[in-house]
Amino acid sequence: MWTGVGIAVAVVALAVAGPGLLGVDPDLPDYARQLTPPGADHWLGTDQSGRDQLARTLAGLGKSLQAVLVVFALTTAIGITVGGLAGYLGGVVDAVVGRVIDALLGLPSQIVALAVVGALGVGSTHLILAIVASGWAYPARIARGAVLGSDRRLDVTAARLAGIGRIRILFGHVLPGATTTVLVAATTTVGETTLTLAGLSFLGLGAQPPTAELGQLLADSQGSLVSSPWLLIGPTVLIAAMVASAMLISDALRDAVDPRPRPARPRRNPKVTTTQDISGVLSATDLVVTYPDGTRAVRGVSLTVAAGECVAVVGESGCGKTTLARSVLGLLPAGATLAGTLAVDGTDVAGLDRRGLRRLRGRVVGYVAQDPYAACDPLRSVGHHVGEAWRHHGRRPPRGEVVRRVDALGIADAADRLTERPYRWSGGMLQRATIAAAGAHQPVLTIADEPTSALDAHLADDILGTLRASCRSLLLISHDLRLVARHADRIVIMYAGRIVETGPTAELLGNPRHPYTRALLAATPRPGGDPVTALPGTPPALRGEPGPGCAFADRCARVTDGCRDREPVLVGGVACWEES
């Protein structure tokens, strides 16, 4: 951003102050000094009439810059006015204007500019008009969209119901956003406008001699290209500087207004500090996971899943349960570090290289994601998604196996339905299909991360039942204590990256001991309609080294002074000084 602004300031300064400082008449010919190479007298040399190229370039820059700014101002102003008005008025006006805008955007803009100059005749004013003729359509479309879409905006609906007037909504909610959006959109076209202007004036369609624009200067030097190639330097550098600053600024503006999530970097193996030998299908000892930004999401978790067991990990958002699941699959982002032991079926996951991880994933560890629609490639059939479970490992699914597996999970007409794309499936059915994909190789352990929270509530029990029945052992991540109660053998409660309570399901729910477990239970709706109670406060931030004392102390109703001094350890299934 600031590089762009810096270049822009420098370019404008050159255009404004340059000619005065130089003090050379750009149009004064000196036939005694034609085509002099750059030197002390003429820093950029002279042209075929002996005019100083630097003076000509600076004067040309002024012309070009002026043209670009006029085009920008005109297109943006016309665009906001026409588009915004059309969207605001609606009805026939909007329909007609909308069609015209769409049609103009469907035309090749440089060709239209060329044609308009062809009709009006050459000259810099005509050139500007020619570019504006179709250039206003883009900002107009953005403005129209912003105003039209505002009718469906939720904040606008709320304001309308509150009785806020139409004009105040327009000026308070709609226009500020729309203007920013349009300005940012219009900025993205400045670089292109600069190049178009340069191109058309290169063709001799812009300002006529002697007042040349940068493009025209380049055209002039074409004739003496063989002997004097240096004539290209000045105009080229300045055009490039104008375009580069426009592009840098518009990119930065767009990122600031519409912060897209940065694309994920390719994943690499997390660094490992210590490893030991272990047993069980899943076994973690003193597991600590630290993200590159210093967030320590898992803070010393020890956990075992025995063969055939279903263990549920429960906690609110940000307690580290998803990080735990991702570490088992080796899916932590690059730069995350992992300490302690983490082993699946006797294999140390933390120490595996990329190939080793690949062999583990899908075959030893199955994975069911939260949202089945996000889990499937929208461009491919559901059958393709399930079949990929085999193809990922270089095999072909055995004949009829995909249909058989999906059919076994209770999907009618499996063969036909599998040829359809995910969006034609219902959420519950699609989640069954991804469960079939996760279980393709009968992995010893399946990890399911909130597998029902994107689905309608009444489907949850069924899906979890299907999941439990189709897996050998299951690590179930959830925030809903009562839902997992019917399916898990054992429950692990996590808070702020630690296990605070664990035990067999019936025991833990029958006699919850940690205050946090009780708070979770009190907050969970149960059949019968008893009111729920919320736990006040928010979980602590997980940056850096943990402080002394119990992480739950700030939200705990039974906190004592001792709780803040020493961290409770997990003894007898609960980590609480008041209970153990």
Binding site: P108, G118, L331
Partner: protein, 313 residues
């Protein structure tokens, strides 16, 4: 689906119509009386009233605007764009003679751009954050900020004049198309490869790709089976709009390389105020662009039927 296809075709026809009205209106925009100008151009320095009136009838300048537009459009649809004011030959013949050279140039440029964009975009995405990616991005930024014709001039200077590798006279044949086509393709190749990189990274960050990774997918398989198809629709759209840049760039590149195509002819016509030629050229370019956009959009709907559903709402 069928509904969407029909709607999109209707939209293309509408765009063509708006374009044709615009092109026809160019005549009205032009200052002065066309009949007078044509006569002057043909050597009649001081035409009589009689001559001007006769010329007006000949040029189809009589009657109300709607009839005139209808007559003009009907002619254009048959390929009859009238006669050139400068040479008095049929515009269609003049353009037809030069069209093959431009087709050659544009087709080769599209091919070069696509090949370069696919290769560089994919390599940049796969090596994102490492040196090949940085090098490609630097290169494409440099190309994007420079006007294409400057690169063309530089190439001409270095390759042709200094090294003497190519003929300086380009005659519009396949043998000499290389340098002009390379010049024309640079901008689009850079823009397309940057977009492909961004879209590949976006597609690669999709949740379903993560799920596939969690099921043991290979990096390369993900790229071919999920990332590339996922990036295809936005890439196609940009290729479609990029064709406009190629069409718009052609006149400049043809002028730099004295390529005997319709673009250079159109530029000459503009300078000579030969409006029928400008009109015919513009309408031709618009028709090509509208057709390309239509095909691109239909392919996009075929690749991702959800677009049809969204369009139907």
């Amino acid at each position: 689906m069928r509904h969407t296809v029909l709607r999109r075709i209707g939209q293309a026809v509408l765009t063509l119509l708006v374009g044709s009205v615009l092109v026809w209106a160019l005549l009205a925009l032009a200052p002065g009386d066309p009949a007078h100008r044509v006569l002057t151009a043909n050597g009649v320095a001081h035409p009589t009233e009689e001559q001007v009136r006769a010329k007006r009838v000949e040029l189809g300048l009589t009657g109300d605007p709607v009839t005139r537009y209808g007559r003009w459009l009907a002619g254009a649809a048959r390929g009859d764009f009238g006669t050139s004011w400068a040479t008095s030959r049929p515009v269609a013949d003049e353009l037809g003679q030069r069209l093959p050279a431009t087709v050659r140039l544009t087709v080769v440029a599209v091919g070069l751009s696509l090949a370069a964009a696919l290769l560089l975009g994919t390599v940049a995405a796969v090596t994102a954050g490492r040196w090949p990616d940085a090098a490609i991005r630097l290169l494409s930024s440099a190309v994007l900020v420079l006007p294409g014709f400057v690169v063309g001039l530089a190439l001409l200077h270095v390759v042709v004049l200094r090294l003497g590798h190519f003929q300086i006279i380009t005659d519009g044949s396949w043998a000499t198309v290389g340098l002009p086509a390379l010049t024309l393709s640079l901008g689009t190749a850079a823009a397309w490869s940057r977009l492909l990189r961004a879209e590949l990274l976006r597609a690669g960050g999709a949740p379903h790709v993560e799920v596939a990774t969690a099921r043991g997918a290979r990096r390369w398989r993900l790229l071919v089976v999920h990332d590339l198809p996922g990036a295809l629709v936005p890439f196609l759209t940009v290729v479609g709009t990029g064709v406009a840049a190629l069409l718009g760039g052609a006149p400049i590149v043809e002028t730099v390389f004295t390529w005997p195509g319709v673009g250079r002819y159109a530029v000459q016509a503009i300078t000579a105020r030969d409006l029928p030629v400008v009109q015919a050229y513009t309408l031709l370019a618009i028709a090509v662009y509208v057709a390309v956009s239509l095909v691109v959009d239909l392919v996009a709907v075929a690749v991702d039927p959800r677009l049809a559903r969204a369009g139907a709402r």
